[in-house]
């Protein structure tokens, strides 16, 4: 006897993001097993991310061509921005790598470039000459910070460089005690130069670690004076100098650690070790060494930061990448490392594995994009990233997480200029300089794939066999048609796929002429369209998939309806 089909509706599929931690059968249908290149859009749907659009059109650096060069790769490594006398400047470190035909590196050159704007507008990266450094290659992992109308480039082993908007010079230029005050006391010079690579500008000072390879000590500058540092002599050169040194070697709760990052938040100075965190309060006082100065408020053991750039201040909290994933510092402090501080708890094992397998932790970075409500932890070595939705957590408490692929950029930087918010991406794809995370075509005009897979559904009857007869995908698509693939399967894998052509629906736009007419309003067509797919096969559990190529178009998956027959008990 024929049975009545059951309609199972999965509204807002994948809205909860990825969840690879909990049992698929016990999960909320809103979780996804796969959510590649997806974000949760403003309507609470899972949709395609924005592409890496080309931003800079040229990288103007001068280098000599190596003999036998067969391939030249120009990569942007690090980004930084700052306000110098009211003008926003963006600096980037660029590496030029020349390989021979067999892929061996022949020559590498490093540059510091600034982002320039030309009419159009067009953006280019222009080289800024800098003094000779000990190790130019360290610029590939430089730290660029803005401080008191100047920008500073910190790199390991190289003296700090100061950019005043036109030229770059070494921080200690001139005569000691006259033009600058190096770290010193009556026993002599403590550090001839500030050559650390872990730096932060906070509370009117520069805080730098890694000076002379010492990652147990933080040197902090005088208030608002980047050239004056610790002067412990009985008769200091500047009696008002409040620069100092903070050695945290004895304060690691696990006994030993090293400083990998410094962050400032809420009047506190967060010193990240690899497996520990030190929280110093009162860092914003006039003199940190004074009696009311900085004081160790908390130590957190068993949790640390994987890399200097894997720290992001989101305003209300500080996020960082631990071996276990992306953690929330505020929550961590409040809850003493309770699981609630784990933003990527829904994909913990996945991200943990990636972190563990990433040998070069400098390829891991974390950035907060407030205009997108995203925090992105990027694994540039693996060309993938996890985008963390910051608006609301998922039902598990962990944030909604999606995965991005082909992240051909090493660092991302959010900044605002002239009222425009930008997310710049330091391109690791040769010659692109900087991408912009924005609507438009992908940087190489190649589409990327927005991919969704649901967890397995049993429809409340796990012991019965299911016969999927029809799947309806309610899709929101705009701008251009795109090729999509619907998939379904049983027993946890997509056994069947069927191609779909997702037609674009031009959205109703206000005050935009349509067909060169002078209409005040465009056509009010809906962008939502349901696509029906006849399915087949049977199994105990059902898995639904959807993927679409994105290149200039947008796509969101609003709803999935599954028509199925419930069979006998197996």
């Amino acid at each position: 006897m024929a049975q009545q089909q059951q309609n199972i509706t999965v509204s807002a599929p994948g809205f909860q993001g990825l969840n690879t931690e909990d049992s698929p059968l016990q999960q909320d249908p809103g979780f996804a097993l796969v959510a590649d290149n997806a974000v949760v859009d403003k309507f609470g749907r899972i949709g395609s991310r924005k592409p890496w659009t080309e931003f800079t059109t040229a990288i103007n650096v001068t280098y000599s061509a190596a003999v036998g060069v067969a391939d030249t790769q120009i990569k942007t490594h690090r980004l930084g921005h700052g306000d110098i006398n009211g003008t926003i400047y963006v600096l980037a470190t660029v590496g030029v790598y020349q390989y021979n035909a067999s892929g061996s590196l022949l020559q590498n050159d490093y540059f510091i470039c600034k982002l320039t704007t030309s009419a159009g507008p067009t953006y280019e990266l222009d080289e800024i000459s800098y003094p000779a450094l000990v190790d130019d290659s360290a610029l590939a992992d430089a730290r660029i910070v803005s401080f008191n109308d100047k920008m500073y480039v910190f790199s390991a082993g190289n003296e700090c460089l100061e950019y005043d908007g036109s030229t770059i010079a070494k921080l200690f230029t001139g005569t000691n005690d006259v033009d600058y005050i190096k770290p010193q006391d009556d026993s002599g010079t403590i550090a001839a130069v500030i050559n650390g690579d872990i730096a932060a500008a906070a509370y009117g000072r520069l805080w730098v670690s890694g000076v002379d390879g010492d990652y147990q000590t933080i040197y902090y500058s005088d208030l608002l004076i980047a050239t004056q540092w610790y002067d412990g002599r009985a008769v200091p050169a500047d009696a008002q100098n409040t620069g100092g040194i903070l050695n945290v070697n004895e304060y690691w709760p696990s006994g030993t650690d090293r400083i990998v990052g410094i962050a400032a938040h809420n009047g506190a100075l967060f010193i990240f070790g690899r497996q520990s965190i030190l929280v110093y309060n009162n860092a914003a006082v006039g003199d940190p060494a004074a009696a009311d100065g900085i004081v160790l408020a908390d130590t957190i053991s068993g949790i640390g930061c994987v890399n200097r750039d894997a720290i992001a201040n989101i305003g209300s909290d500080v996020l960082f990448v631990d071996d276990s994933g992306v953690r929330s510092l505020g929550r961590t402090i409040q809850e003493k490392s309770a699981p609630l501080g784990d933003l990527t708890s829904n994909v913990r094992r996945d991200i943990t594995d990636i972190i563990a397998l990433t040998a070069d932790k400098t390829t891991i970075s974390l950035s907060y994009w407030p205009d997108e409500n995203l925090t992105v932890v990027n694994f540039s070595n693996d060309l993938q990233a996890f985008a963390i939705e910051m608006r609301a957590p998922s039902v598990t408490g962990g944030n909604k997480v999606t995965r991005w692929t082909n992240t051909v950029w090493e660092r991302a930087m959010y900044y605002e200029i002239a009222g425009e918010a930008r997310v710049l991406l330091a391109s690791s794809a040769s010659g692109y300089g900087c991408f912009l995370y924005d609507d438009g075509l992908n940087y190489n005009d190649e589409p990327f794939e927005f991919k969704y897979e649901s967890n397995s559904f049993t429809f409340g009857q796990p012991a019965n066999s299911k016969f999927v007869k029809q799947i309806d995908f309610t899709v929101v698509s705009t701008l251009s048609n795109a090729q999509a693939y619907a998939g379904w399967g049983y027993s946890g894998r997509l056994d069947y796929t069927k191609s779909l052509t997702i037609t674009a629906q031009a959205p109703a736009l206000y005050n935009v002429a349509y067909f060169n007419q002078t209409d005040e309003y465009g056509p009010g067509l809906t962008t939502i369209k349901r696509y029906r797919v006849n399915a087949k096969g049977s199994g105990e559990s059902v898995i639904i998939g959807f993927r679409i190529e994105v290149n200039g178009n947008t796509c969101s998956l609003q709803e999935i309806n599954v028509q199925t027959l419930i069979g006998r008990i197996i």
């Binding site: 006391d185 412990g232 040194i245 903070l246 110093y280 900085i294 160790l296």
Partner: protein, 393 residues
Amino acid sequence: MSLFDLLAGAGSAAAGYQMAEDIRQTGRQGAAQIQELGRELQDQAAFRGYGVQTGLGRSTIDPTGSLDVGVGPQQAMLQAGQSMFGGAGAGFDAAGQALQQAMTNPAYAQALAAMQAGQAGLAGQQAGALGASQQAMQQAMMDTAGREQQVFERAMALQEPGLQRAQAAQQAREFAMGRGGLRGSQFGGTAEDAAMARARAEATNQAAFQAMGQAQQEALNRANMAAQFGQLGTQAGQLQGQLGTNLGQLGLQQAQLGQRGAGMLADIAQAGGQLGLQGYEAGFTPFEQQLEALKLGSLAGEMAQTGQLTGAGYGAQLGLGGIQAQINAEKAASELFGNLFGAGMTAIGSIGQGAPAGSSLLEMLGLPGLLSSTAEESAGLRALENFDFDAIG
């Protein structure tokens, strides 16, 4: 020389010789008369003694002047007086003995011994005190730098544990606050480090100043101690002197008591002696009264003697007058003869012109050297020398 001269001279000598013989004869007669007168007068003027008869007895004075009072002292009174005088002697002996005892009284000896012991003890104490005083004074006069260093080191040693604890606590707090590795330009380290260093420096300075003050105070104390020791020494000396004085006074008092006792005994003895003497003297009262009576008798004796002497005087004067008149007459006759014979001889000598030797009158009188300065004695002079003028009353 002429023969006349020789005649004149021989005549003169013979005449002078004759005349001198006459004169001698006259002198011998006068002397014999005077001697006879003297013997008569001696018998007449000799003391014949006298006697006095009283109720107490009869007292006589014989012609030899011997006195026989005839009355002796009263034996009872003499015996009583002698007895009391003997008692006085005994009293004097007792007084002397008491005085001797007072001079050698045991209290004085004890006082002397005590004083000597006290002096010895006090002398030792005084010497010790003065020695200590001198030592303390020397110490007080010494340079205080060494002592300051000692006090400073002790003060620092005393407060070092506290400072160490405070620093340890401060470092512990600093460590607990995570500020152990903090160094600021304003403080070299942390403000707490600077405060601790400042506290240490202040403690050091305070200890140094306290050490200086303490050393000075100690020097002052030593000076005071020296003064006190000196005062003790002085007081010991004074006490020693006072003790000696007291003991001397005690001895003196004891001696005075003994002396007073001896004096009293002596007074008693003297009174007894006085009484004995008075008794003894009283025993001689009858004798004295008899002598007084004898004095009255002597007046009468004197009156008799005076009459006797007056009669003898009258006799002597008359006898002498007669003798004197005889002699004067002999003398005048001699001189007259001499003058006549001299004139005759002169006339004989002048016949021969120039008087030859031996023709002078004296030579003629037999007194050739009477007026000569030669040592040849003349017979006249020898005659005069042999004249007993004592026989002349």
